[in-house]
Symmetry: C2
Subunit: 258 residues, 2 copies
């Protein structure tokens, strides 16, 4: 039975894309069948795995507006036998939020598209843009759980109440079985007071929802996207690589429990 | 004659709010009459100067939807005689993009509101959300120039072409006199190859539009918002404080020229 996990936080630059790319690839390395969906018009996930957005003719935009199925648009990446399926985004997605507003079942488009193919995957990840608009709502409606990356900085704390309000609304009106899959501390630097203060506050609030693995600030993680590679292919022995591999094992462990 | 500067970049977490708060306060310290407008539903600029969003009864939302003028909503902050006017945001702004879609002259709402009060200020800054939706379009339409913060990381480069496309569209249809005010390198770390590579590429492309002052990565800048203070009040002798004061002097210098 596959698990659909939406990676969302409207605060910008907290590590949504970095987590989408590296967590899905880590699970692929661990033998899981994974699909990664790029729901952000910026297309950072698409670029982060080495797909040239300009060459993407059919994208997630065509799936949301109804002219394609997910199957039609999936790119299967093969890294020495380790496979990751990716549903890419290109610039056309920027128009989707306005265009979807007047469409029927506008919030359910992604959920319905995923239903057709979900049995082929163990995990399906959705990378969201930094907003709580219709694209993120589609992601939350389609998901079993939402994974919330929280940067260890002050502004990241501020935004959580807004995100939880939207989460509650989606549970109430669109997806009653949606749960918080987990909360991930990102860009954590144990030497900084600020990092520790934010981590403490998040743990007090979210309790055992917070993953034991946190992602340290590690320059290799920010270099890898420039080469279109997940961290495991770019710098296998880096702190970032170990942290995302630990996280993948923790996500797999929670899967059995739920 | 006042100058209206919009601070925009749809890439998340690049330093839009940090620049809005610290550049406007630096100019206030240098004796300029400044207004800071928070156009982001996250309300990070509002929190970053110490205003409690929950206590904001009238906000920029009411100005955009037409029930208030800017004068009605401005909070005047007074730091030992140094004054900064702030037009705050609260959570109601999250609904503005959808509500504005069917309103008359939806892109011009902010521009018209600013017209009534611009003579009272030397500089008016607008902090935008991480998207290219109607709020950012309102900001670009209202502005004389757009200041683009660029984080020294790979994904930040990727997004610039999309931003420039939107800039061109706004110039063509809504605001023909809009120029690029300047490009600011943020979170610059001279020791990292990545930082230098990105800075070089940005300088090659934007040439003399790039400010000579760049903002180094400095933890004091990320601690200050937790106390609701600009960097000058939180840690006056920090690298972040010096960098934003230098930038303010450079922005003032360009003002005379244009
Ligand atoms: N643990 C980390 N250590 C160092 N750099 C990181 C780390 N995680 C992410 N980064 C870098 O920080 C920046 C922001 O991360 P990322 O783009 O993944 O965030 P995001 O939440 O997806 O942003 P957006 O809101 O724009 O979608 C990127 O340049 C990325 O390479
Ligand atoms: N030069 C700097 N050095 C260290 N930290 C910084 C610096 N500039 C910004 N930050 C921190 O990085 C994070 C992102 O910055 P900020 O929130 O200003 O970006 P933004 O572009 O406004 O984000 P959003 O896209 O969510 O609006 C914040 O936690 C901020 O405190
Ligand atoms: Mg992203
Ligand atoms: Mg901001």
């Amino acid at each position: 039975m596959s698990r659909v996990i939406n990676i969302a936080n409207q605060k910008g630059g907290v590590g949504k894309t970095t987590t989408s790319v590296n967590l899905s690839s880590a699970l692929a390395f661990l033998g899981k069948r994974c699909l990664l969906i790029d729901l952000d018009p910026q297309g950072n996930t698409t670029a982060g795995v080495g797909i040239d957005r300009a060459e993407v003719t059919k994208s997630i935009y065509d799936v949301l507006l109804g002219s394609s199925s997910l199957k039609d648009i999936i790119h299967v990446l093969d890294w020495d036998g380790v496979k990751l399926s990716v549903a890419p985004a290109n610039l056309s997605l920027a128009g989707a939020e306005v265009e979807l507003i007047s469409e029927f079942s506008r919030e359910m488009r992604l959920k319905n598209a995923i239903a057709e193919i979900r049995s082929e995957f163990d995990f399906i990840f959705i990378d969201c843009p930094p907003s709580l608009g219709l694209l993120t709502i589609n992601g939350l409606t389609a998901a079993d759980g939402v994974l919330i990356p929280v940067q260890c900085e002050y502004f990241a704390l501020e935004g959580l109440s807004q995100l939880l309000k939207t989460f509650d609304l989606v549970r109430k009106h669109l997806n009653p079985s949606l749960v918080i899959e987990g909360v991930l501390m990102t860009m954590y630097d144990a030497r900084l007071n600020l990092s520790n203060q934010v981590a403490d506050e998040v743990k007090n609030f979210f309790k055992d929802k917070v993953y034991k693995s946190s992602i340290p600030r590690n320059v290799k993680l920010s270099e890898a996207p420039g080469f279109g590679k997940p961290i495991f292919l770019y710098e296998k022995n880096s702190k970032g690589s170990t942290a995302y591999m630990d996280l993948a094992k923790e996500v797999m462990g929670r899967e059995k429990v739920s």
